[in-house]
């Protein structure tokens, strides 16, 4: 009974976190479309079960490195809407004082070492974090998020080699959303992605990235094994990005069909699937779920309003933080 209660709480938190990511992204997209957000951004919508399934298996001491498509990782690792929207709008109260923006958002308080605008650029950082844990006798685990596109970068093979040689506590999480920017993954990836990790003797898994419970179960096991010195591990998570490569990538039919997008949204959406599971298992009623969704939407709306009204950094900030004291 206790286990069931514990699971129910975990499940509701996972659902809540997935909805928070989707809601955050819907608001971020609106900010872009209404020209309120400087620059552009890359939406995580559709991939929520990956970030949440993995991050719910981690503690605040565990680290992650994120990508240009990083809002989902940031929310899943425990970040607050207010500081995130402030960062997206370049405001002083943002996580990075407005100096990083969407593509560099970092939240050290929850172990998020930051998004990275160089595809595959954080693989060294994640592996180095794991090396530090080994060196200093700390038992935290680092998860390196990256996309299928990043598997074409040489850095990945250099660091996986060292991680495997030294049995480092790092988990490489490849979010395979089927597209490397505007190109189908089949056109950029020869052979098998997991086989590449296996070539280094790294145990590799390929799972449904739209099933939050499957992602979470596997990650919990791998995190435990990492803590016992059995790392590294590699997970390829099959998932899908609902938006284009970035928010401005509207006309996508030259590289993927609307029918394909509709199929993923209608039949494999991680939130719809998990919601049905929660209801059928009696963990939450439809009314309770609707109430939770409404509360999250209200939180997001308030955070957006706060961020829009918040102050930009003072001009004196421009040459601060180039060097640490």
């Amino acid at each position: 009974m206790n286990k069931r209660k514990h699971n129910a709480e975990d499940y509701l938190r996972m659902y809540r976190q997935m909805v928070r990511i989707r809601t955050f992204e819907d608001n971020a997209n609106q900010l872009y479309l209404s020209a309120k957000m400087p620059g552009l951004t890359h939406m995580y919508s559709g991939e929520e079960a990956v970030a949440v399934g993995i991050c719910e298996a981690l503690t605040d001491d565990d680290r992650i490195t994120s990508t240009h498509r990083g809002h989902g990782h940031c929310v899943a690792k425990g970040a607050e809407f207010k500081e995130m929207f402030c960062e997206l709008l370049g405001k002083a109260e943002g996580y990075c004082r407005g100096k990083g923006g969407s593509m560099h958002i970092a939240d050290q308080s929850h172990g998020n070492l930051g998004a990275n605008a160089i595809v595959g650029g954080s693989m060294g950082i994640a592996t180095g974090s794991a090396l530090r844990a080994r060196l200093l006798g700390q038992d935290d685990v680092t998860v390196c998020f990256f996309g299928d596109g990043a598997t074409a970068q040489g850095l990945m093979y250099e660091v996986m080699n060292m991680a495997a040689l030294w049995k480092l506590p790092v988990i490489y999480a490849c979010e395979n959303n089927g597209y490397s920017e505007y190109t189908r993954t089949e056109e950029i990836a020869a052979g098998s992605i997991t086989a590449r990790a296996e070539a280094f003797g790294i145990e590799a898994f390929r799972i449904d990235g739209q099933d939050v419970l499957a992602v979470n179960d596997l990650t919990r096991k791998l995190v435990d094994r990492c803590r016992k010195g059995e790392g590294p591990f590699f997970i390829e998570l099959e998932t899908y990005r609902y938006h284009g490569h970035h928010v401005g990538d509207i006309n996508r039919e030259y590289y993927r069909s609307k029918q394909e997008e509709k199929d993923w949204k209608d039949n494999r959406d991680p939130i719809i699937r998990f919601r049905a599971h929660l209801v059928s298992e009696g963990i939450a009623s439809e009314d309770e779920i609707e109430a939770m969704n409404a509360e999250i939407e209200k939180d997001a709306a308030e955070a957006v309003a706060y961020a829009e009204a918040a102050a930009y950094p003072d001009v004196s900030e421009v040459d601060k933080h180039v060097y640490a004291d």
Partner: protein, 331 residues
């Protein structure tokens, strides 16, 4: 005072800091039992073990990336990049990752790492093992750049670099590893951004970096025979740069030559000369001259290679012309 080689000085500095701070560790190709091809790190693995003196595969971007991540999460890596020429391989990790983390995170993340590497031609190592690429990294905000000119500087700057909370790139001249200099037994650090006047003079300022300090000192001796008193200054770090000391010297002497072994065009010499022109213009009696390496890939043949780097004779010749007013019309 005892004299030790530059190589021993670097080794001592790293060993002392590793004893003082258990988060300091070494990472690079053949740093452990081999002690690097130049034998600079010999003996460290015996004292600190393979957990803290880590031999890596030949994967420069990979192990520099590891150092960035280790530094961001609480360790203080000292990374050994076997040749300065390999900096091109690690530019993303160094310039996009290490240099920018502190700023991009609004000051929340820090990257206290040292990348030690080397510079210097005339070792007959040809175009991919002879370059002096300090200007490349000095161009990137967020990196600090140190250029020791003797064993004394090598030790004091290395200890400061390891304690600094920023990514620091140290270039050692690979021809100077066996050069001896007086180095105190007792501990000392050399602060960054403090130039050192190696020789006082009144007629012309010779600003040299790394091995070019020795070139400037030899040039000053040649000039002294002609009655020209050259002042020799070693900036010791080019980022941060001790502009105050350089300007004070040039205001006194009214002439300057800047000497650095990197390529002359768009280089360290250009930057320093430009600052002197901007901030000491009315004190100058002659144009500030740059003397860098020739703008050619470093040739293998000794007959050609020796032509590419500044020599004491060439520095002295230029100094004589500046002091005689012969180069004013060239400007």
């Amino acid at each position: 005072m005892r004299e030790i080689t530059l190589s021993q000085a670097v080794n001592e500095a790293i060993a002392e800091e590793m004893r003082r701070d258990e988060t300091v560790f070494l990472l690079g190709e053949d740093v452990a039992e081999a002690g690097t091809p130049f034998k600079v790190l010999s003996g460290l693995v015996e004292e600190f073990g393979t957990a803290r003196v880590i031999d890596t595969p030949i994967s420069e971007p990979g192990f520099v990336g590891l150092a960035v991540g280790a530094a961001m999460t609480g360790a203080r890596p000292v990374v050994d990049l076997m040749f300065g020429d390999f900096i091109y391989l690690v530019m993303d990790q160094l310039c996009n990752q290490a240099a920018k983390q502190h700023y991009m995170s609004g000051g929340k993340l820090t990257v206290p790492m040292v990348l030690r590497t080397n510079l210097g031609a005339t070792r007959r190592s040809a175009a991919q093992h002879s370059q002096s690429l300090q200007a490349l990294v000095a161009h990137i905000p967020g990196l600090k750049v140190a250029l020791p000119s003797s064993a004394y500087e090598a030790k004091g700057l290395m200890k400061t670099a390891i304690r600094d909370n920023n990514p620091v790139v140290i270039f050692e001249d690979k021809l100077m590893y066996q050069d001896k200099a007086p180095v105190p037994e007792e501990e000392y650090l050399i602060p960054f951004g403090e130039a050192h006047v190696k020789r006082e003079g009144t007629d012309i300022t010779l600003i040299g970096t790394s091995s070019m300090v020795q070139v400037a000192e030899k040039a000053a001796e040649l000039l002294a025979r002609d009655g020209i008193e050259a002042e020799v200054i070693d900036p010791r770090t080019i980022v941060p740069l001790d502009e105050v000391a350089l300007l004070a010297s040039v205001r006194k002497t009214s002439r300057a030559i800047v000497i650095d072994e990197g390529h002359q065009s768009y280089g360290v010499t250009a930057e320093i000369a430009s600052r002197l022109n901007e901030k000491a213009f009315y004190h100058l009696d002659a144009p500030v001259l740059r003397m860098g390496a020739m703008d050619v890939p470093v040739p293998f043949s000794p007959a050609l290679e020796d032509l590419t780097v500044p020599t004491p004779e060439a520095v002295a010749e230029n100094a004589r012309m500046l002091c005689a007013g012969e180069m004013i019309h060239a400007a």
